[in-house]
């Protein structure tokens, strides 16, 4: 099943007169930069999920909140869908434009409005890059904890939309745990504040609801995040294993010993070799798997914990354990992991990154399942894994220029996600559903649960103008998904 917007399955798209809308916006929103020529629209035709492209009808690049507010009011009045976009680094097509919609690009809202070291908060505009917050907080000994691998480029507005994670989530939480307040404009152009500078706010926890809502409930225009004191020290242990299951068990044993590492990452042999070839991080290329375990905090505690973890890893059958000697080597160990995606990308013309989360105890079963599927589809899969929190990133290697191979890669990816659901996990840990996993939502949730999601959406956007088609599939799409699945399960029904 294709994931591109399909009116038959995703609902009729509005019939819009591009010129009339352009004129209305130009008239209603003074000074708004509005792109409409095909050559200007091309740079915006996709986000980080670049295999899918759609040319937006119009691209708006507002510079003031008044412009955003008026744009929303006009779009609401004319019934024009609005897709909000930050840096466009998302991996699930959450900011994929619509042929019949306005792409609202917030990248010009890139000011850090306030760093308050006493209150340990930063107030920023949505287009501010994730890493820029930590850089601005650094002189005060503070930082912003969530660190998606794309942190150098991704914007905080997009982080809120996707409830982005990173390699330090187990200990420091996701975006939802680190954002204390957002300013929102509704589709009708009304302003509201969710959360507060205090630790809670009266009423429903709409702040939690908006985190990860993929721009479908409102447009986030300002974000206040909490800042943490930088840990006094951080140390990294790298352990190699001759068997991936042993590495998986070692993860459980570390946590069973009462230790919550700052980061706990696992890579399989294909990913290790790719990263080593690219970065030269000093990874053992013969190992079946490596674990990177970062312990951070107060010096004395970290030293104690390093000893404990070392003993646990030895008992778990590690064939080698190496502790980074200094910050430079620690950075190098992490560079291998953080560059694993582009590293794998060098081994193959294209790759497709998955994002399932599983209970850790199911790791061996899921890896075996992935390896069987890989063989069945004839496509290589490298595994990179936020082992501490069970978030897997299998990377499917393929060549889009070979006819049919993209379809095969997608089908394999879909099977991997369904396997994650089967073992009690989820189709997306941190990348979001977007358009990419719209079909697998039908495997994850029952029809009545999806109906409740639609009800929540309707409370904020009853006419469905904000980012239509993302995150929550229509009943028609799910019904087709189930028909295809049951046909596949029962060959007698196949034509």
């Amino acid at each position: 099943m294709n994931i591109l917007y399909d009116e038959r399955l995703d609902g009729a798209a509005p019939k819009l007169d591009k010129t009339a809308i352009r004129d209305s916006l130009a008239q209603d929103v003074p000074g708004l930069t509005l792109l409409h020529r095909e050559e200007d629209l091309h740079p915006f035709e996709c986000d980080g999920l670049s295999v899918y492209r759609t040319l937006p009808m119009l691209v708006a690049l507002p510079e003031t909140l008044a412009q955003v507010e008026q744009l929303l009011k006009t779009c609401h009045r004319l019934g024009v869908p609005v897709v909000t976009r930050g840096a466009g680094t998302g991996l699930s097509g959450g900011a994929m434009p619509l042929e019949h919609g306005v792409l609202l690009v917030l990248s010009r809202f890139s000011r850090i409005l306030e760093i308050d070291p006493e209150a340990r908060i930063a107030r920023v505009e949505p287009g501010v890059r994730n890493l820029a917050i930590s850089e601005a907080a650094s002189p005060y000994g503070l930082y912003y904890a969530p660190d998606p691998s794309s942190q150098i480029a991704c914007s905080i507005g997009g982080n809120v939309a996707e409830n982005a994670g990173g390699v330090h989530c187990l200990k420091y939480g996701l975006t939802v745990h680190n954002v204390i307040k957002v300013e929102v404009l509704t589709i009708e152009g009304e302003h509201m504040t969710l959360g507060s500078d205090a630790l809670d706010a009266p009423g429903f926890d709409l702040l939690a609801l908006f985190n990860g809502s993929e721009g479908m409930l409102g447009v986030v225009t300002e974000i206040t995040v909490k800042l943490l004191p930088k840990p006094e020290t951080a140390k990294v242990l790298m352990a190699s294993f001759d068997d991936i299951e042993k590495a998986g068990n070692a993860v459980g044993s570390i946590i069973a010993a009462g230790i919550i590492p700052g980061g706990l990452e696992m890579m399989d042999n294909l990913a290790i070799r790719a990263a080593e070839d690219f970065i030269g991080a000093g990874y053992p290329v013969e190992a079946a798997a490596i674990l990177l375990c970062e312990l951070d905090g107060v010096e004395a505690d970290v030293d104690d914990d390093c000893e404990t973890v070392r003993r646990v890893l030895e008992a778990a059958g590690a064939t080698g354990i190496q502790q980074a000697r200094d910050d430079a080597e620690r950075a190098l160990f992490w560079a291998g992991r953080k560059n694993a995606f582009p590293a794998v990308g060098r081994m193959s013309p294209d790759y497709y990154c998955m994002d399932g989360t599983i209970p850790r105890r199911e790791l061996a079963r899921v890896l075996k399942g992935i390896s069987d599927l890989s063989e069945q589809y004839g496509l290589r899969v490298a595994n990179v894994f936020h082992a501490g929190d069970g978030n897997m990133h299998p990377l499917i290697l393929f060549d889009a220029n070979t006819p049919g191979e993209l379809d095969e890669a997608e089908a394999l990816g879909g099977k991997i996600l369904e396997l994650c659901v089967e073992v009690g996990g989820t189709i997306t840990g941190e990348h979001g559903v977007g358009r990419e996993k719209i079909n697998q939502m039908c495997a994850q949730f029952r029809p009545d649960e999806l109906a409740t999601f639609r009800a929540a959406k309707a409370a904020f956007d009853p006419t469905g103008l904000l980012n239509p088609g993302k995150n929550i599939p229509t009943p028609a799409r799910c019904s087709e998904f189930r028909t295809i699945k049951s046909a596949a399960a029962d060959p007698a029904k196949q034509g």
Binding site: R120, T186, D200, L209, G297, D301, G388, F445
Partner: protein, 373 residues
């Protein structure tokens, strides 16, 4: 699947709860949801047929290595915390108990967290998933039993603090954490101003502070973490040893300050208010004596006041600093009709919309949070 031994009380009552909801939906009968009925003082009184989750009990899943526990909503909080303690683990947000009957469902519905909250996070921060009986009496699953999950809207965290107005929680899954290796408590006899200054300085250092409350002329501090850092910090901060029992007494509103008994027994001339304030709040602009007589918990972010001060004076003082005030006094007191700070009109509109979408018949705890829904 790992799981602690079942207790004789374990029972799945979800089907009979669902049936009651279907009936209520059919007849448009409002329901007053209770667990242990120990948190009735928090929020507006609700008229309705009592729907009790107390029979719906038991831990359905617990795997200490996964750091995940799933528990039915009618399970006593004490039972859950005992099961976690057996494995050296805990609910990091340190939820208050207002009686032995306090249940997990009530804890989530009210969303109250204890002294560790500013450092560890709140109830909703540790909710991974929930099962909810919606208005049609069908059990729905949101979130899950894994650490990271962004599939669909985050309806499980939305339920935290919603006071049962959006549906009936039947089961909640939490992330749990190991108990700290060491814990020490101390008190320093310093002024409120000095306490604020020191906490602001310490907050920028990675110190193992896990609770900080100023009251009656002294700053009370708890240190938790690795034995080495706790010992070193204890040495550095000085002060006198504090009995660890202080913290559960503060958590459960059992210090002398709070008076005897629950809200209804609290003298209405000095009702209890909870103020939620930004950390850096220097002063509310109330009389010095009034501020010195408050408990400043959560390093100043949660203050407890007993005063006959009128609601609007207190609320506008809080609003000026982006905080809010909640009334926990007896019925008929100065804030009892509107215990929670009134919402701005746009926000109220979307609260009503959400309530109307998820509970179109208005059967779940109507009016519990606000009179409007």
């Amino acid at each position: 699947m790992d799981k602690t031994a079942t207790t004789p009380h374990d029972h799945d009552a979800s089907e009979s709860l669902a049936e009651r909801i279907r009936q209520a939906s059919a007849t448009g009968t409002p329901l007053r949801i209770v667990g242990g009925d120990t948190r009735g003082f928090y929020g507006r009184p609700t008229e309705g047929e009592v729907l009790s989750t107390a029979e719906h009990r038991g831990i359905t899943f617990y795997d200490p290595v996964e750091l995940v526990v799933s528990v039915r909503s009618g399970t006593p909080l004490a039972e859950l915390e005992a099961a976690l303690a057996e494995q050296g683990q805990m609910l990091p947000f340190e939820p208050p108990r207002f009686g032995e009957a306090s249940t997990v469902g009530g804890m989530v519905a009210t969303g109250l967290s204890g002294p560790r909250r500013p450092w560890a996070g709140s109830v909703r921060d540790f909710v991974l998933g929930a099962r909810v009986l919606g208005h049609e009496g069908i059990e729905q699953r949101f979130g899950g039993q894994v650490m990271k999950n962004v599939a669909g809207y985050d309806l499980s965290r939305l339920m935290v603090g919603a006071q049962g107005t959006l549906g009936l929680l039947t089961e909640v899954t939490f992330k749990v954490l190991p108990r700290p290796g060491a814990s020490r408590s101390l008190h320093l006899d310093i002024s409120l101003e000095e306490a604020r200054n020191r906490l602001a300085d310490w907050g920028r250092e990675p110190l193992p502070i896990s609770a900080a409350a100023w009251l009656e002329g002294a700053l009370h501090i708890r240190l938790e973490g690795g034995p080495s850092s706790v010992a070193a910090t204890r040495e550095r901060l000085g002060g006198d040893e504090l009995d660890e029992k202080f913290w559960p007494a503060l958590r459960d509103l059992k210090l002398d300050f709070f008076g005897q008994g629950d809200a209804s027994a609290r003298a209405s001339d000095r009702p209890l208010w909870r103020l939620s304030l930004p950390h850096r709040t220097a002063s509310l602009g109330l009389a010095d004596a009034a501020e010195a007589s408050m408990i400043h918990d959560w390093a100043g972010a949660q203050c407890w006041v007993r005063s006959a001060i009128d609601a609007e004076t207190l609320r506008s003082a809080c609003r000026r600093v982006d905080g809010h005030a909640t009334y926990l006094g007896a019925c008929g007191g100065p804030g009892s009709d509107e215990p929670f700070t009134p919402l701005p009109s746009v926000l109220l509109k979307y609260h009503r919309n959400l309530k109307a979408e998820l509970d179109p018949k208005g059967i779940f705890n109507p009016g519990r949070l606000y009179a409007a829904f």
